[in-house]
């Protein structure tokens, strides 16, 4: 009833859920690295962009789909490890602001390398395009990718939860995220923990690259840049310090963007960024430590 009043149909709802799921994956990727390194990775979107270009190249060379996906994972993982070694590691222990500015620089660097390499017009990744065709569920047409995105996101989350809850090394990640110094004193190996977090975060970026290229097959150098900005806002909105609030924040901001985008007419939907960021600022003013966190974080002397 309510939904009909707001002019929202099932397709919009499904698309919004899918966008929320993709943003939630990105939020986990950003949150994992933040947990162990206290570093907000502004360049996360450029990892996704690199993966998307890998897919585009693979489809241009006529590779089979699975080979393209392997190439995508490989290139994103290599880039994440490089980023960790060359930038994150030397900056370890600096203030969060310095690290944020540094990743800002890395983001622009990667974007301009892509611009130099592939040109401003970009390339088309078309090998998974058939997922855009609709299937009929009940009486509603839903694009396949919507279902695939939600299923993949849920599977990734479940796998990650299992990994983080049940294995020793991931116990180390969680303890490092809570208090790195104490964890190290108790025998947690810093480089292994950080390496694993960066690797997992890279793998998630590759998954996001695959899902996003189906929705937007045209891959340009600023691919996923806007999404990253929105996800970062969502992560801070949900609460940066814990994974679950960060994920919820990413999902909600994706869901809200998708819903508004589908429900509003164009002359209003062009103002969505203003609505979204206005809401983000409002929430930050009321709850600076995040929407889905408990208690207040007080700076101690």
């Amino acid at each position: 009833m309510m939904l009909a009043f707001l002019n929202i149909d099932w397709q919009t709802l499904a698309d919004a859920t899918a966008l929320g799921a993709i943003y939630a994956l990105m939020a986990v990727g950003i949150g994992l690295v933040f947990g162990v390194l206290r570093l907000v990775n502004f360049a996360y979107g450029q990892l996704v962009m690199a993966g998307a270009f890998a897919l585009a190249l693979a489809s241009q060379w006529g590779w089979p789909v699975w080979a393209g996906i392997v190439l995508c994972f490989a290139s994103v993982l290599v880039l994440s490890v490089l980023m960790d070694r060359l930038v994150f590691r030397p900056l370890r222990g600096h203030s969060p602001a310095v690290m944020l500015v540094a990743t800002f620089a890395v983001a622009f660097l990667m974007q301009s390398i892509a611009l130099l390499w592939f040109g401003p017009l970009g390339k088309i990744a078309s090998s998974l395009a058939y997922l855009n065709r609709p299937v009929t569920v009940g009486s509603v047409d839903i694009r396949k990718i919507t279902i695939v995105a939600v299923v993949v996101a849920v599977v990734c989350m479940l796998a990650l939860t299992l990994l983080l809850e049940r294995t020793t090394i991931c116990l180390h990640i969680r303890s490092a995220a809570l208090d790195f110094q104490t964890a190290r004193m108790l025998g947690v190996r810093a480089d292994r923990v950080i390496g694993l977090a960066v690797g997992l975060s890279g793998a998630l970026a590759a998954v996001v690259a695959v899902l996003l290229t189906v929705q937007t097959p045209l891959v340009t150098p600023d691919f996923a840049l806007r999404d990253t900005i929105i996800v970062l806002a969502g992560v801070v909105l949900g609460g940066m310090n814990r994974l679950i609030p960060a994920t919820l924040g990413g999902f909600s901001i994706g869901f809200a963007t998708g819903l508004l985008g589908g429900a509003l007419p164009t002359n209003q939907s062009q103002y969505i960024p203003s609505f979204v960021f206005g809401a983000v600022i409002l929430v930050l003013l009321v709850r600076p430590s995040g929407l889905f966190t408990r208690g207040r974080v007080v700076e101690r002397v």
């Binding site: 907000v40 540094a102 890395v106 130099l116 062009q270 103002y271 960021f277 206005g278 600076p288």
Partner: protein, 334 residues
């Protein structure tokens, strides 16, 4: 004596600005534009320094005050006869009047300052990451509104037919004004208290400093300077919403960080050094020769070089080229 010695902190940056202006006057007309652009960048980076340098709080939002200043000056100074052509949906208030060059610059500064005050009133309560994201939000909102709100500007179009009055002399004067404002603020009671809160917020609070109020003062002043710089910028070249958005945010932040964020000297040196490198690479992208080597760089090299430089400086020397210290010929008397 101490006061006289303090003046060198002003004279150093001012002298460098003047030297850049004189150099600009000496080169050919086609290269003069690079110097004018560099001097406008100095004004923007000094505006960033006034807030970021003194408060230690990151702001991604200052380019929105540059944009608002640019829009104010631009809308007011396009000749009335040409307004319907480039801005058909302009509000009536702006349609029937144009202002002179100086008036438009003053209004640009005022718009920047007032907007910074209004934005700062709620936002200055935040610090750390929340402040970074919230100021980013301000940039996004400003960009979004200016892009689609055709009552106050050209919307998606480019700001053509704004009189190009930002000459080398005017840009140098604007940069000097920015430097003097930043110096006076940093030497004032307000600037000193704000730096105290940057070094140790808890200790500064304990002796009665209001972190919120001091940050708000700095934010407003830096908004004023940023607005002025925006006014100069729109009179320099035809802008659109994309030219006062992420790229400008990146390059000006890079300038501030490379120079050294915590000093006026660092802001000026960073802005001029990166501008020099950037302009040289821009020339090299069109083909040039250095020490007999022919250099022809592919388009897009500039951002790569500046990005690498910024990352390297952050890693090897996080306090910037100047070490974040002010310019001093003579050491401070004991």
């Amino acid at each position: 004596m101490r006061r006289v010695l303090a003046l060198q902190e002003l004279l150093g940056p001012a002298a460098v600005v003047l030297i850049a202006a004189l150099l600009g006057a000496a080169v050919s007309t086609s290269n003069e534009a690079y110097f004018t652009d560099a001097l406008v960048k100095v004004a923007i980076v000094v505006a960033l320094y006034v807030f970021i340098g003194n408060s230690g709080v990151l702001s991604f939002g200052h380019i929105s005050f540059v944009a608002l200043g640019a829009w104010a000056a631009g809308v007011l100074s396009v000749p009335v006869s040409e307004k319907p052509a480039i801005m058909p949906n302009l509000a009536h208030v702006f349609r029937d009047r144009t202002t002179g060059n100086l008036t438009s610059l003053l209004i640009a500064a005022l718009v920047g300052g007032v907007c910074a005050l209004v934005v700062g009133l709620p936002l200055m309560r935040l610090s750390g990451l929340a402040a970074g994201i919230a100021t980013f939000g301000v940039l996004e909102i400003t960009h979004n509104l200016l892009r689609y709100e055709e009552k106050v500007g050209p919307g998606l179009n480019t700001f053509s037919s704004v009189p190009e009055t930002t000459t080398l002399r005017q840009a140098a004067f604007g940069a000097l004004v920015a430097v003097v404002v930043a110096f006076v603020y940093a030497r004032s009671r307000f600037g000193r208290i704000l730096r105290a809160t940057r070094e140790d917020a808890a200790a500064a609070r304990a002796v009665g400093a209001s972190v919120y109020r001091q940050r708000l003062v700095a934010f407003t002043i830096s908004g004023l300077v940023a607005g002025l710089a925006g006014g100069l910028y729109v009179h320099l070249l035809p802008l659109n919403t994309e030219s006062v958005y992420l790229d400008l945010t990146f390059i000006t932040l890079a300038m501030l960080v490379i120079g050294g964020a915590t000093s006026l000297w660092g802001a000026v040196v960073g802005a001029l050094a990166v501008s020099a490198l950037d302009s040289y690479l821009a020339v090299a992208e069109n083909g040039t020769s250095l020490f007999g080597w022919h250099i022809d760089l592919p388009a897009g090299t500039r951002v790569i070089v500046v990005g690498v430089l910024m990352a390297v400086v952050l890693i090897l020397r996080p306090t910037g080229l100047t070490g974040g210290r002010e310019f001093r010929l003579w050491p401070r008397p004991a």
